[in-house]
């Protein structure tokens, strides 16, 4: 090798080495490749990914090999006289046809995996997934007994996001209520959205499906291993797009049945409560709990406000009941005050509105019963 060539090698080697060592150091602690995940489809996709990557690597080595050979041996400084050839129909045909054949060898496995992904037949259960700005709602359909439905919100506290507290292990990938599915079961997912487009993505379950308002998309998964799988919304959906994670808890069938039974009992209980009339004390007790869980973050422990307006002495909470109920159920569009009507049951809504009207020095003395909320929602 000439001096020039050696110098060039050294120059080129620098960045390559930096990158490679970065990748190696990175790979030890960080994931650098697609995961095979916990489903057969996921493994098929992984194999497809590795196949194409492999073919590309081989072609890349060929192309870059020829190129760097020229760079090293066909330099003017070595006193070479340039060749003058500039076309060859045979060569052009060869490098049109050969890549085409290689593409066919890729298309075959790709097609079969795709057909597999599109096979929704024989699902053993359905879950309806609805994207909201910025949370997910899960509904278990087709079950005997009560339908089960709940929202799943980001659980990471603001203090971690704004760096006033240390971040937990599952920072931004933790929710208040995970979706639970049984292992080795073909679960059909019906994906839609309530406002803008979202996308439900759990890499290890090999599912990414757009949630589109007005349309219901299908997808399915069959997890072959129990465990907790985490994902995120993949389609830009507004301000808190980065803060609507997905957690799927894959459990044994027995555990699943227990969980579902408990959820159904809970739902039945709420249903019974809906028909009931509560006393002021009952409403206040329940209302306090709901307030602390769902409103305190913005309205403050003493109703003093914060991100949200003050509840203590608020003209709304001390004014006409209908207007107050309206804000609770429908929210204030364009502000952080969301529509809680679709997110909590009527009992909780009745309780928390009653609580706001009779706590923090607000002394309205009036009560809201679940049936009032129900009627208000009906219009």
């Amino acid at each position: 090798m000439s001096f020039e060539a050696k110098r060039l090698w050294k120059l080129a080697l620098g960045p390559v080495l930096i990158l490679m060592s970065a990748a190696v150091v990175g790979a030890e602690v960080n994931q650098v490749n697609m995961s095979q995940g916990a489903t057969e489809v996921g493994r098929d996709i992984y194999n497809l990914h590795m196949l194409i990557l492999g073919i590309c690597t081989v072609i890349g080595i060929g192309v870059f090999g020829v190129m760097f050979y020229s760079i090293i041996y066909h330099r003017k400084s070595k006193g070479v006289t340039p060749a003058t050839f500039h076309e060859s129909t045979k060569v052009e045909i060869a490098w049109t046809v050969v890549p085409f054949l290689i593409l066919i060898s890729m298309a075959v496995p790709a097609t079969s995996t795709l057909l597999d992904i599109y096979d929704y037949e024989d699902a053993e259960m359905d879950i309806m997934i609805t994207g909201y700005q910025w949370k997910w709602k899960y509904e278990y359909l087709n079950e005997n007994g009560e339908n089960v439905s709940f929202f799943s919100n980001l659980r990471t506290p603001q203090s971690e996001i704004y760096n006033t507290e240390d971040k937990g292990q599952h920072y931004l990938l933790e929710v208040d209520e995970p979706v639970v599915i049984p292992v080795d079961t073909k679960v059909r997912l019906l994906v839609t959205a309530n406002d803008v487009i979202h996308s439900w993505w759990v890499p290890e379950l090999a599912v990414k499906k757009d949630a589109i308002p007005g349309f219901i998309n299908e997808a399915w998964t069959r997890a072959s291993e129990t465990g907790i799988y985490r994902g995120q919304c993949a389609e830009l959906c507004g301000k808190d797009h980065g803060f609507m994670p997905i957690v799927v808890n894959v459990v044994s069938r027995d555990e699943y049945n227990d969980w579902l039974g408990a959820k159904q009992a809970e739902a039945a209980e709420i249903k019974a409560l809906m028909a009931q009339t509560f006393t002021m004390d009952e409403l206040m007790e329940r209302g306090e709990a709901v307030y602390q869980r769902a409103c305190l973050a913005c309205h403050g422990a003493k109703g003093e406000g914060g991100l949200g307006k003050a509840i203590a002495g608020s003209p709304l909470a001390t004014g006409e009941l209908g207007a107050h109920l309206d804000v609770g159920i429908n929210g204030v569009p364009g502000t952080a005050m969301q529509a809680f009507g679709g997110q909590m049951n009527d009992v909780d809504m009745a309780a928390v509105i009653t609580y706001q009207r009779n706590a923090f020095g607000n002394n309205m003395g009036d009560m809201v019963q679940p049936i009032d909320v129900f009627n208000y929602k009906k219009g």
């Binding site: 994931q31 995961s35 330099r75 890549p99 993505w201 301000k239």
Partner: protein, 526 residues
């Protein structure tokens, strides 16, 4: 000399009223560089916020405004105008024409750009903030849920489209009508060919984009429901219309870059371009295919499987003509007599990195795998390998290559090479790790991320600052050359350069080819 040989007018009016293709080219180039700096600034805000997990500098809403404006400014403000500037400077000189065919329209198509970008940037200060729905502005986030500034955004897009269409018509008219006698189509330099095809693409798809934003406008202000499911419309329709524009758009960005590289690699290989004819046919096939692959951006919207298969096969096919191009460039270098001045370094950088971007493109075309790649950082890595290393690297190469001809002075070679190496390292440090985090599950367009992505994101941010800083060196080098570069007087600045633009004096006079040059009929294309 006849008295019609006037030079440029003096003062500001020279630039405001000019119809000279060189002046207009210069303005386009400076404007696009200004936009490159502005878009780069937005990118630095993004990378600074993503330096560490947690929210540090900006709020999520503002972060989304940054990603949106970064994409819009880079695509429509930096890359596209830069190649129009290059076309203005070079096409007349390459085909032996005295100027562009429609010089007054040329003036207009430039001058409507700066006010438009001023308007777009001013949305940052409006109530509700700038557009925050991504450069792909999917409805209904960009309609029902958009900030009020969306109306100004729609207006800007209309004007940008107008400017592009006027520029393209001008290029088509020039190339079809103003070639010097003997400059047959198959003798035209490849840069002219790629631009001719690009201009047709632009004329075909810009109206589609205009249609998309007009439907948005109607939905927002006039009660229609094109994209609103509640009124019987279809949000997915928006994506079809957008990508019918959007995919050809990415080739609008890259074809002129292919042209540049096809001029420069032969020059520094001292050997004619290999497979000129097949390069022309490959460009045309890419342009054709680019119209029938748009839904590869939409594999996850829930298309029927037959649609999915069609778009997958068509997209895979694009790899064939793209491969032909790469093979031809490498074969051009083969057994040449290579030297490695800055333009050649940038072209080699282009070749290596664009090929990597093409490989990831092929991976993305495989629909089942795309379910895992889509909307992750893997896609971000892919399109920066093709757009930055493709378009921006080739643009840098073009500036270093033709600058001496334009201003008659030589840039500082050592500084140019330094610019290349810092860019190359910075670029790879920024975008290579993004493949990893994407595969590991990091979605794009998020202002904050889970802890397992932290290391690579920090690496990415450091790389971005390095890449950003290297552009200041570029700016300095160009200004220093214009102000105080070493004069060059050879017509043919580079030993291996071929083409009519190297037959005019250096620096290129204000008017060239007022009488058509004689083209040697036996000479192989430049």
């Amino acid at each position: 000399m006849g008295d019609h040989h006037h030079g440029p007018a003096k003062g500001l009016s020279r630039w405001l009223f000019t119809t000279n293709h060189k002046d207009i080219g210069t303005m386009y180039l400076w404007f696009s560089f200004a936009m490159f700096i502005l878009g780069g600034f937005f990118a630095m805000v993004i990378r600074a916020e993503l330096f560490q997990p947690g929210m540090q500098l900006v709020e999520p809403a503002f972060f989304n405004q940054m990603t949106t404006l970064h994409g819009l400014v880079m695509v429509f403000g930096a890359i596209m105008p830069s190649f129009v500037g290059l076309a203005n400077w070079l096409i007349p000189m390459m085909i032996g024409a005295p100027d562009m065919a429609l010089p007054r329209m040329n003036n207009w198509s430039f001058w409507i750009l700066p006010p438009t970008f001023l308007l777009l940037a001013s949305t940052l200060f409006m109530e509700g903030g700038a557009p925050a729905f991504g450069w792909t502005f999917y409805a209904p986030l960009s309609t029902t849920y958009a900030p009020p500034s969306v109306t100004f955004f729609i207006f800007s897009v209309h004007v940008l489209g107008l400017s592009s269409i006027m520029g393209s018509i001008n290029i088509i008219a020039t190339v079809m009508n103003m070639r010097a006698p003997g400059m047959t189509y198959m003798k035209m330099p490849l840069f002219v060919w790629t631009w001719l095809i690009t201009a047709f693409l632009l004329v075909a798809v810009m109206p589609v984009l205009a249609g998309a934003v007009t439907m948005m406008l109607m939905d927002i202000h006039f009660g229609t429901s094109f994209f609103s499911a509640a009124g019987g419309g279809d949000p997915v329709l928006f994506q079809h219309v957008f990508w019918f524009f959007g995919h050809p758009e990415v080739y609008i960005i890259i074809l002129p870059a292919f042209g540049v590289v096809s001029q420069i690699i032969p020059a520094f290989s001292r050997k004619p371009l290999f497979g000129y004819d097949s390069m022309v046919y490959a460009t045309a096939s890419i342009a054709f295919l680019s119209f029938i692959v748009w839904a590869h951006h939409m594999y996850t919207v829930g298309m029927p499987v037959a649609g999915e298969l069609f778009f997958m096969y068509a997209t895979m096919l694009i790899a064939v003509p793209t491969g032909v191009k790469v093979f031809n460039w490498v074969t051009t270098m083969w057994r040449g007599a290579l030297t490695f001045e800055t333009p050649m370094l940038f072209c080699i950088g282009f070749l290596v990195l664009f090929t990597i971007g093409g490989f990831t493109g092929l991976m993305l075309s495989i629909a089942p795998s795309d379910f895992q790649y889509h909307d992750s950082y893997f896609v971000v890595a892919h399109f920066h390998y093709v757009m930055v290393a493709g378009a921006v690297f080739s643009m840098s190469a073009a500036v270093y290559y033709w600058l001496p001809k334009w201003c008659g002075k030589m840039y500082n070679e050592a500084m140019g090479k330094t610019h290349f190496w810092i860019s190359f390292i910075g670029f790879n440090l920024t975008f290579f790790p993004q493949h990893f985090v994407g595969l590991a599950g990091m979605p794009r367009r998020i202002p904050d991320y889970a802890l397992q992505f932290a290391d690579f994101n920090m690496m990415s941010s450091i790389g971005a600052f390095i890449y950003g800083a290297s552009q200041i060196l570029f700016l300095y080098n160009v200004i220093a050359t214009i102000v105080a570069g070493k004069p060059v007087s050879d017509d043919k600045v580079w030993e291996g350069a071929e083409g009519l633009e190297w037959t005019v004096p250096t620096p290129a006079p204000y008017h060239t080819f007022e009488t058509p040059p004689r083209i040697d009929p036996d000479h192989v294309h430049s």
